[in-house]
Every structure is written in structure tokens, then in C-alpha cells.
Amino acid sequence: MYEIVTKETVAPNIIHMKFKAPKIASSAKPGQFVIIRVDEKGERIPMGLAGWDEKEGTVDIVFYVLGTSTAKLSTMCEGDSLANIAGPLGKPSEIENFGRVICACGCFGVGPSLPLVKALKEKGNYVITVVEGRGPDFVFWTDRLGEFSDEVHVVTGCGKTAWANDFIEQELQSGKKINRIFAHGCPFMMKVSSDASRAAGVDTTVSLTPIMVDGTGMCGACRVEVGGETKFACVDGPEFEGHDINWDGLVLRLRQLIPEEDKSFNIWERDNWHKLMDCRHKKSFNPAKRMSVEEIEHTEANCKLAGV
């Protein structure tokens, strides 16, 4: 079993968790991911590694709560254990001294960017980090990223550089030399970031986590078209050249099970809404107190629904 060591809500609906997983911690490299199964009935879902500590034997993930598996995970607390974590999976990032690099990240993509930024800095790159959020509340870890970045920029959809892709476009147009771009975030953010660098022809590495089952190259659920060829994101990736990806195909495959996912989530939520409310309305909460009346009492609506 894999115990949750720390849990923190870092932005609305975005959670950072640290687990005990010593074997993964001692072999993880930037760019790799893990497959998580929350409980005995759970799905196997991929999560980019947001850090690890070999001494402590822990690994970190950052996830966005969307659907049954991540909702279940979000309601687990420090001291609880996950059924399974397998990894590290996928190819590690190719880290070289490229020169000047932009690392663009947003949402759950901020997580896997951290080990990447650190590794790039250690190789001697000039690292320009741009953190995207749909408002100041959604921006997190600028301090952690700042430790290893030469510049940190925050973009929240307004002002001169509205989004990460606008930032990339302006940097490239201003004539500054950029040798490599990395983008981590939702598929839309990574697509527009790749589009922004296409004209300038700067290689843009993106990290994909499509629907997976085993995560070891066995099922082919994660197939994605790259440069006209079918690749498995789990073993050929998760990193690919953003300019070569068939983004429309990727997004359609990501959305293929939405009716089933909705059904699953609706049923789960009926039985577990109170846990989800706890999770959404507090930064972190104590598992020992999770079900106590005091915990449930804090809003009028909850009192009514709980019949207190």
C-alpha cells in the first residue's frame, strides 16, 4: 500500500499529493509518469511525476479533480493509502544544455514542470518559466519554480501577454534567441503553445497523458498520431514534438468515454458528496475528524442535507 504523506489544495480544484513509494522515488527521472489505482474497484490512470525524494522514499503528483478517479483521490487524506502505484513509466525527458529555453506550464502541468525546470537549470540552461492560470487564484508554485528559473512570468489571460502561447509568440517575435520550448498542461494549452512556435521553427516538447490502461505498452489505448505515425504515449512518450501531433485526434480520443464517465461520476457523487464538499471548501483536512459532526456543520446547506 502507498500511504499519502501530505495533501494540499494548491489552487481551486487542483491538489498536490505526496505518497510513500520508495522504489519509484529511487528510479524516477524528469518527464516520467506513474499509473495510479485508488482502490480495489478503481481505474488505472496516468499522472505525471511532480517530484520525488529518494531519501524520504516519496513521490509527488499534482492533479485536477475531474471524474470519478480523481474525485475519489481528492477525498483521501494524509494517512490513507492508495491501492497501487506503478512506475516510473515512459521515457525520461531528453535534457541537454540547449541554451535559452521556455518552460510553459499551467493547471496540473505545473507539477511535472518542476523536476524538468530543475534538471534544465542543472544542465546550465537559461530557463524562462511561464506559469499560466485563469486568474491569480489558479497560479501556484511560482516560488518553487523560481528557485531554478532565471525568469518567472505569470500569465492569467489579461494584459500584454494574455496566455502562455501569447508569451511564447511575443518572445519569439521580439527576436530573442530561444533554443527549445517545453509545454505542460491541458491538450488545448499545449496545442496553442506548439502553434505559437511553429512559424519560428523552435522545437516544442509537450507531454501527453491520454487515456491509458496498463501504461506499459500492452493495450494501445493511448495511441496518438505523431508525424503521421501511430505511437503509444505510454512507451514511445509521454513527450513528443508538439508540431507533429494530430491534436484533433488526440482530443477526440480523450473524450470518447464521456457518457460513461458522467454516469460513473454521478453515481459516485450521490454517495460521497460530503467528502467532495470537504475537499473543495478546505485547504486540507484531518482524516480523524473527517466524519465528525463539527466537520459537516460548517455550512447551512450541509447541515440541511446531512439532517443535523
Partner: protein, 473 residues
């Protein structure tokens, strides 16, 4: 003489099955197993040959006449002990072995009529032992002080681990998935091999002293040379041929098109047939096409029926004669209502605005001259292409070895098909490393993988005790 004539009676005792109408809507086991009376009757047909040919047909060398004799005499613990002496997974083999081309094909009764139903008797003894737990413990040799790492907990790995444990070696099995059993749990459906049986046979292997480490992806989490440096004296790779093949035709990446591995893994390992009680979903198609003609295609087609499809087609490019699936599985599928479209091949898939497959173009085929494998190679009939509507497609055209370990271990030499190069003892090109099962042969059967695991275990034992050089025997 009269007794002998009675024994040579042509018919074997039939095994009860769920009726096709009933079973096509549940995932419970199709074959129900012999009653004690039926087992005794069938066992009594065995004429106890002095030089039994059946044993030669068994890749793991089960002493078939011995266990049947014990069964006939009512000595069930003796029958179970005899069986388990050679085969650590009898409940599995009794269900999924192709006995008709192995032990049963050699049975002398087969010359006049039907051979002894060895598989059904094996299953009967194994099930008795599992329920009663009355089999005396197998003999274990004293600890050798040596240890072995077994990578993969499928049929090859489990057999190798069980044998090594019985020989007194310390064994750790590394499994990448969250459950042990490999293809036995992700590939073969519940209605053909209940997972409870796999679990209890794994428990048996563990009871011999083997440890099972789940979620351990060798090649990623730990490398082969790290295992050898980290305290293991030998490594056995039973990692299977797990990577799916696709047709490489346009539209194959549309949603609703699954590899057989994905389809069966969702259904079997992740229990998508119990969705939404279990979290893993699967598209429950109404009109399903399964492309391929092997056992995996039959498993996928029969699973699709059980998930509630109105119509399930097997699309196979050759004719029924060339189909590699076991006869029994083809008959089961036909009884349940699977429709067979022979001499048909998909050429492209079409989808709707959501990227879901909704049709496929197929061509008709005709058979030409036999190819290198002896099968007549199919040719496209010109102008025969036409569109058929489907909402789910499963591609079951075979698997190739997964390069996860070979790509990170340059010392392991592979063939151009990706299978590992091994000698007749299972030794790879890397010192201290053996391999067996689908990783060396490409997709084959459970029992041939078990046979390879057994051969490798014997050689590992020999090598560990002799402490000899790799190049010498």
C-alpha cells in the same frame, strides 16, 4: 475381454455446460465440470497403457495414467499429489490447455473413438483439491542459499517460480500490473477461466515460498543487471508477447476501435463488465466486429455478446479451415450466436463527428497457393469492397513482444520479430538470464509457456548448484 471392450466404448463422458441462451448474458463459467460420478466413469475408460503416449504429449510431463488411476480408485489426495508433482497450475491447465492437440491426441483410445478426457479429469482433481484443501504438501528441498528473480507472473513465470521454490531456492516474482497472473487475468475471460481459480493457484505458488511483488515494472523501476548485482543469482524472464498488433489501415485510431488486449484487459482485469460498480468503463457496442481468427478473437467476440451487443461478427480473411482458434471455442462462439464472416478483410474505418467509428469498408478475399506456414494465402477479390455499419471494433490479429525490457538491456539479443534468442535450455545471450514463454516464441499457448518455465527452472537449478561458467553446460 468384455471389460476391455466396454472401456473402448467410443463415447467419452460429456461435461455439463451452461446453455447458450443463458450463458450469452452472463460472465460465469461456461463449462461446469464433472460430477464425481461422471469423473469416475470417464476415469474408468483409461486402459492404463504400459508405455503411455499421453505423457509424451504433455509439455510439463504430467504422469497422466498415475493420476487417473488414483482418481479411479477413489484416492483423491493421491491423484492431486501426482498432478501437482508436475504441474503447479492444474486448475488453469484443465480449463485452457488445447488437450486435443497434446495429451489427448496421443491417447490410444483415440484410434478407435474418443480419447480419454484428460483435461476434464485434470480439472476435476484440481477443483476437488482447491475446495477441500486435502492434498498433502509437496516435498520442498532444503534451502540452497541461492535466489532467483522471476519477471512476469504469467504461466511461464509462475511455473518457473514454483519449481525453483520447490528446489529450495529463494524466489521473488516481479509483476508490473496490480494483480498476479499475467495473460491469465488480463487476457482470458472469466467465463473461460474464473479469476478465483487463478488467484488460488497463485496462492499455492506463494505457499511454496515464492514472493510476489506487484506494481514492479522491471526495465523501468529496476534493470536486469541491477537485479543480478542486487542479490539475485539468476533471472528468468517470462514477460510474454504483450504488445498489440494493428492492421495499419486508415481510420484505425478512431474511438471505439480497441486492440484485443485493451478490450479484454478492460473487461477481465479491470472488470468493466461490472461498470459502474467498478470504475473502468468500456463502450458497450450494439454491432461489434472482431477482426481475427484465433482464440483471442473468440474471447473478445464472446465478451462483446455478454456485454449486451445485438450482433457480433468475427471478420477473418481466410476460411474456416485455416482458423487457428481451438475447435471447442469456435463451437462455443457459434452456439452463442457469434456470426462468422470468412474471407473478409477490413480496408478502412469510418467515423462520425465525435471521432467514433460507425462503419468499415471490407473486401472479399479468395485463397491462393499455400504460403511458407502451409496456410493458403488470401488475395483480394477485385471490386468486392463494400461498407458495413459497426459501432465497436476489436482488432485481434496477434501480439508482438513488448520491447520494454529488451530496449533497456542491450546484452539481450532479440530476433527481428522482437523475441528473445534462447538456447534449448532457455538461456539468453546474457549471463545469468533465462527466458521462456511468448517472449521467446511469440504468441502461443499457456501450457507451452509453462513447459518453457519448467525447462528453464531445471537448468537454473543445475547452474546454481554447479556454479559453472555460462558458456559451459
Amino acid at each position: 475381454m468384455e471389460e476391455m471392450a466396454e472401456k473402448l466404448k467410443l463415447n467419452r463422458v460429456e461435461m455439463p455446460k451452461q446453455s447458450p441462451e443463458k450463458r450469452r448474458s452472463n460472465f460465469e463459467e461456461v463449462a461446469l465440470g464433472y460430477t464425481p460420478e461422471q469423473a469416475a466413469l470417464e476415469a474408468n475408460r483409461c486402459i492404463q497403457c504400459k508405455k503411455p503416449k499421453c505423457v509424451e504429449g504433455c509439455p510439463v510431463g504430467v504422469n497422466i495414467p498415475e493420476f487417473i488411476l488414483a482418481l479411479r480408485d477413489g484416492d483423491m489426495p493421491g491423484a492431486a499429489l501426482s498432478l501437482k508433482g508436475k504441474n503447479s497450475l492444474p486448475g488453469i491447465c484443465g480449463r485452457v490447455c488445447p488437450q486435443e492437440v497434446q495429451c489427448e491426441s496421443r491417447c490410444v483410445l483415440g484410434k478407435k473413438g474418443a480419447p480419454i478426457a484428460i483435461g476434464r479429469l485434470e480439472r476435476f482433481v484440481a477443483d476437488w483439491e482447491r475446495v477441500t484443501k486435502k492434498c498433502p504438501p509437496c516435498e520442498l528441498l532444503p534451502p540452497s542459499g541461492k535466489s532467483a528473480a522471476v519477471v512476469g507472473s504469467g504461466p511461464a513465470g509462475l511455473t518457473c517460480a514454483a519449481d525453483l521454490a520447490r528446489m529450495g531456492h529463494k524466489v521473488t516474482i516481479f509483476e508490473a500490473l496490480h494483480e498476479g497472473g499475467g495473460v491469465l487475468v488480463y487476457g482470458i475471460p472469466e467465463f473461460r477461466l474464473p479469476k478465483g481459480i487463478v488467484r488460488s493457484e497463485i496462492e499455492y505458488v506463494k505457499s511454496l515460498g515464492a514472493e510476489l511483488e506487484l506494481d514492479s515494472v522491471v526495465g523501468k523501476q529496476v534493470q536486469i543487471d541491477e537485479l543480478l548485482k542486487g542479490g539475485y543469482d539468476a533471472v528468468f524472464l517470462g514477460i510474454g508477447a504483450g504488445a498489440p498488433r494493428f492492421l495499419n489501415v486508415p481510420g484505425e485510431n478512431l474511438s471505439g476501435i480497441y486492440s484485443a488486449n485493451e478490450y479484454l484487459t478492460r473487461v477481465n482485469l479491470m472488470k468493466a463488465y461490472k461498470f459502474p460498480d467498478y470504475d473502468t468503463p468500456i463502450k458497450k457496442g450494439k454491432k461489434v466486429a472482431v477482426v481475427g481468427g484465433g482464440n483471442v478473437a473468440m474471447d473478445a467476440a464472446r465478451s462483446a455478446l455478454r456485454l449486451g451487443a445485438d450482433e457480433v461478427h468475427i471478420i477473418y480473411r481466410r476460411s474456416r479451415e485455416e482458423m487457428p482458434a481451438r475447435l471447442e471455442e469456435v463451437e462455443n462462439a457459434m452456439e452463442e450466436g457469434v456470426i462468422f464472416d470468412f474471407l473478409t478483410n477490413p480496408t478502412r474505418f469510418l467515423g462520425d463527428h465525435r471521432g467514433m467509428v460507425n462503419a468499415m469498408e471490407v473486401v472479399e478475399m479468395e485463397l491462393g497457393e499455400p504460403d511458407a506456414s502451409g496456410r493458403r494465402s488470401p488475395r483480394v477479390k477485385k471490386g468486392s469492397e463494400h461498407i458495413v455499419n459497426v459501432d465497436t471494433v476489436v482488432i485481434a490479429v496477434g501480439t508482438v513482444p513488448n520491447p520494454l525490457i529488451t530496449s533497456s538491456t542491450p546484452e539481450l539479443k532479440a530476433t527481428k520479430w522482437g523475441t528473445l534468442v534462447v538456447d534449448e535450455r532457455g538461456r539468453t545471450t546474457m549471463e545469468g538470464v533465462w527466458a521462456g514463454g511468448d517472449i521467446t516464441t511469440g504468441g502461443a499457448t499457456v501450457i507451452s509457456a509453462m513447459g518453457a518455465g519448467k525447462i528453464a527452472a531445471a537448468d537454473i537449478d543445475h547452474w546454481l548448484r554447479k556454479n559453472g561458467k555460462w558458456s559451459e553446460s
